[in-house]
Symmetry: none
Subunit: 217 residues, 2 copies
Amino acid sequence: MNITVAIADDHAVVREGIKAVLQKTTAGIEVVAEAANGQQALDIARNSPADIYLLDISMPLLNGLEVAERLSRMSPQCRVIILSMHDDKSSVEKAFQSGARGYLVKENAAEEIVQAVREVYAGKFFLSPEVSRYIVQDFLGGRGQYVRKARFRDLTGKEKEVLQLVAEGFSSKEIAGNLNIALATVQVHRRNIMRKLDIHKQADLVRFALKEGIARL
Amino acid sequence: MNITVAIADDHAVVREGIKAVLQKTTAGIEVVAEAANGQQALDIARNSPADIYLLDISMPLLNGLEVAERLSRMSPQCRVIILSMHDDKSSVEKAFQSGARGYLVKENAAEEIVQAVREVYAGKFFLSPEVSRYIVQDFLGGRGQYVRKARFRDLTGKEKEVLQLVAEGFSSKEIAGNLNIALATVQVHRRNIMRKLDIHKQADLVRFALKEGIARL
DNA sequence: AAAAAAATACCTATAAAGCGGTAGGGCGAT
DNA sequence: ATCGCCCTACCGCTTTATAGGTATTTTTTT
């Protein structure tokens, strides 16, 4: 029986590329579904589940890490491989904290995808060579994950909404109107966001949101 | 005879995707070279030129727009199509100012690429539907380039410095200390920047600076 | 059911940002 | 050499952001 794969990436070209690579291999890998955003990916999981989910990190509506987290909660046995443009440590950490089983950097040779799908399907973990050093570092350095800074995943839903609007250039007053809550509440959310992230200026907040893919350039 | 195409993109998956799309069509389009960065793309042009160059905007060493500009200077008859993640107006304008003949947004249906290659090879221009409105707007507005909004190049040297520091999260006071000028001067620069750019909030200023590449994420 | 976390709301206070006008000195171009 | 632009600097004013405390209701987790 074939290994069924669902692809979620907002760029059609990338989806085509992955499909091309997976179908070039004679072996039993089949792309059974595609999603252009995180919400669609969740819909696929609910209605026509696949064995492996290839999720891009930056996607509209829900990013890949959030999708991974919800998938893990919905059905912990499901296998997620995160696709990313970047090989930064925090993304890698977040991916595995979100329940992903694999982390692929897009720059890589296409053949790696096939290998990753096979290994993750077999219950193993898979990392692009570029990022495996982070895992090794953490392993050598002991309790890496306990001392890490609070980040995006620690924000509540409302806080994420507020942060997105902040990054999109809305003032607290405008955000209050937009979300239909009081100005004071927005201010509290902003304060909590900044406390959690250890950020103290609007400019840094905007940069953080863009870096995390919460808002778009 | 086949139309020969060279692809430059730092993401192997994207290159695979484009190749897959172009080779799926029975007609005479052939991918004869690939580059993973702008420098390689120039090497290809020098040593084994192709009819059409598909260039991603964001690449290491030289970005797609810079490559386009040099290609145009080297051999003005060569045909460049720019591939981009974004459909923002400034990128589109810069692409055509750099001598490109086509502008494709990656989100788009893959079939558009084939059409773009054919049309550009035939001496026409090609734009993704998402971005053609900018051209139309400019056309309808008459002398579009004269009335278009002031942008990065209209800022003076000091204004660019200030903008960069704003986008990097420094307050006016910190910027004054950094540049060794009075706080009041920084405030004037900020005001002039915002007036020129028609931007009125710090968050939008940060986003603008990141979009223009003045500051880094 | 109880406990914890999140969302809501209000108050106060200081810092920073945004907007207005004004003005002198330097520097290049018409 | 007169004009325009840039850089510099100051004054005043209003709005927004940041930061602190407190408290009630709702949701989530245990």
